[in-house]
Amino acid sequence: MKRSISIILLVAALPLVGCDSSRAPSFQLSEQSLKLSNFAQDKVQGELTAGFGSPAELVVWPELEIDFGQFGGTIGKVGPRPGTIRIGQTAADGLKPQSELATEKLLQSLRGAAVVVTNAQSSAETTSEAAPANEEATSAPSVYRVASYDTASRLLSVIDESGQPAQLNASEGDTVQVLGSTLQTGRNLYLRHCMHCHGVSGDGAGPTAQYFKVKPRDYRQGVIKFTSTKAAVPHPSRDDLFRIIKLGVPGTYMPSFMLLPDDEVNLIVEYVRWLAMRGEMERKLNAWLSTSYSQEAVNEADSLSELQSEFEAEWNTDSAEFIERFGNDLKLDWQDADKPESVVNPTAPRTPSSPESIARGRELFLSKDAKCASCHGETARGNGPSTEAFNDLPGMPPGTKSDKPGLFDNWGNIVKPRDLTTGVFRGGRRPIDIYRRIHSGIKGTPMQAFGTTLKEEQIWDVVNYVLSIPFEDKQSGH
């Protein structure tokens, strides 16, 4: 009987063995970065870690167009245990809760977020390298990391760089700020709901992605297909991302997250934008370094050390300026996406759908001006002649042809023009959605923008035709 009990215990213990704590999520370098020489790779990695951190320790880079989130207040009491602070009653002032439920739940795992303590008196004894420069402060603030935070008792436990309870240089009345709370909670939600398809780095290569025929979006180009923004605006607005998460993308594996509370979706949106910016920063660094310092350049170089010292010299003189410029570009580009004037909004209301309008739309669909049929096919089944041709690769110098027939998107996948007879519209089925698809195209795909070639009324005619296609009389002979 003893033996049978020990067997039962062993079997019961089996699930515990499955947990492997060594597989903490980490950001991976992109395929392009891996083509760089080792020394350039190190710099890229270092720069990304400095600007963005790791999934476990996110870095707040205030220059970015991101709501990193912060809360705090004055210290009510230091202690009782080493490394703990009780935040005073004003603590909630910095919080922007949209619903009690979400805030309570989300603030539970702030582990790793930065804690900045600014002494009220000007008796600064310790300074930290990681402390942000703040010239106005009378003393240099001390920086720690959150171990845990209890919303009910406002008890904040902080740790130092080594993970031990911090030796606090703080006293009652000092100011304490927890930075990056929004991003941190966004990350928690992302890892839970999104990561298994979209990947830790937002590369669209999470564990479940391999089973999909339609690949999850790789955010690292900052490009999302279905946006409300104009063709010249490369990025999606926050609202676009919100809609996609809430409504899903019909016809793909992206499900609807309708039941997630709005504020949780907003946090995920912010984290996805941040991941996209991280990916773009990596691409910008690559674009700068890949011509001279790729793995290939190393193979062709006469002397490795010469190339490396050349690189070091260039890096030391230019990197600060370049990175500042890249960061600034990111900021401006993403700011653009959220400006009201970036959204495609027609001035003329939709032409009421009528046989005449539909006929005009069909005419345009088949015409040389709009040339919809060249990809979507004359019967709109997504089988136009372009799908069989060798086409220019998008995102490459003009004239770079694909080695396989078909239409390619920016991510290197073959894309099929939509079969418009099915009545499934990935980017939404409202007239305005289809108007925007035609006006500014589908970003990252060969679906181009017709906002300049077609007039508003013409686009509305095409919209009316497209919306009528699923209900066409199938016997009419075309």
């Binding site: 594996y253 909004n345 027609p346 209301p349 046989p355």
Partner: protein, 275 residues
């Protein structure tokens, strides 16, 4: 020590009964009271079966315990072995068969009302088509004032994971599956029906109170089964009409105004005219 086995074997049925008795208080029971008239009848059937089973269970275990307890101290008499008693066998064949027959006949009304279309309550109107797909519920309503058609219409309204129905009267949905087998489950209304690709299954229910009810998938349909959740809003007639109108306005939004001519017009004009 002789009493170890009687105690061991009696411990488990007692634990089971104690668990059952404290379960409702511990919230281990049903997901709330039944929120539909038919759900109440289904609960009643459940309780009837529970009582039958409980009486049988307690009876047999008291008998077993009694026999074990007595047997431990009985060192003198050798156990008596019986190889069959015709009367006893007749008894324990006919009694359970009778009970099963009773249950199967007694529940027929509820079963027919729930599953057989010709026995659906009078006035049951189809409000929406619900299509299950990995891993969401895609919902199609007819335009205000229209009937739900089997095939999509130009003025149909679409939404996802959010089923609105009027409360206080029987409504039905047409249940479909786009990819694999799913199961449409509203625990609080006691409604569960598999969704099978290639078939359209009518499912009726009646929410007796307004409110928000969970809609879950009750058939393991793939890796994302756990996230296949929706919600059912039971609303007043006017609230439901208002919702459909809002949905229609949203669906026809053109970025400028609400068009006077909605998608409904496309169907009315007839598309073949445009050829």
């Amino acid at each position: 020590m002789n009493k170890f086995w009687p105690i061991f074997f009696m411990f488990w049925p007692i634990l089971a009964i104690v668990s059952f008795v404290i379960a409702p208080g511990m919230d281990w029971w049903f997901p709330g009271p039944a929120m539909s008239p038919l759900g109440q009848q289904i609960d009643n059937l459940f309780y009837l079966i529970l009582v039958i089973v409980a009486v049988t269970f307690v009876g047999t275990h008291v008998a077993l315990g009694y026999v074990l307890w007595r047997g431990v101290d009985n060192k003198d008499t050798k156990a008596w072995f019986s190889h069959g008693s015709h009367n006893l066998e007749m008894l324990w064949s006919i009694a359970p068969a009778g009970i099963l027959m009773f249950i199967s006949l007694y529940q027929l009304d509820v079963w027919m009302e729930f599953r057989v279309k010709s026995h659906f309550p009078e006035g049951t109107t189809p409000v929406a088509e619900v299509t299950a797909r990995q891993f969401e519920w895609r919902i199609r309503y007819p335009a205000p004032g229209k009937k739900l058609m089997t095939t999509p219409q130009a003025d149909d309204l679409y939404t996802v994971n959010d089923l609105h129905v009027p409360f206080g009267r029987p409504v039905s949905i047409r249940l479909r599956a786009m990819d694999v087998q799913h199961s449409f489950f509203i625990p609080e209304l006691r409604v569960k029906q598999d969704a099978v690709p290639g078939t359209i299954i009518p499912v009726w229910f009646e929410a007796s109170k307004p409110g928000e009810y969970d809609l879950t998938c009750a058939e393991l349909c793939g890796w994302g089964h756990y996230k296949m959740r929706g919600r059912v809003f039971a609303e007043s007639e006017s609230g439901f009409d208002q919702y459909i109108k809002t949905l229609q306005a949203e669906q026809n939004f053109d970025g400028v105004t609400q068009p006077e001519h909605s998608g409904a017009q496309i169907a009315e004009y007839g598309i073949e005219d445009s050829q």
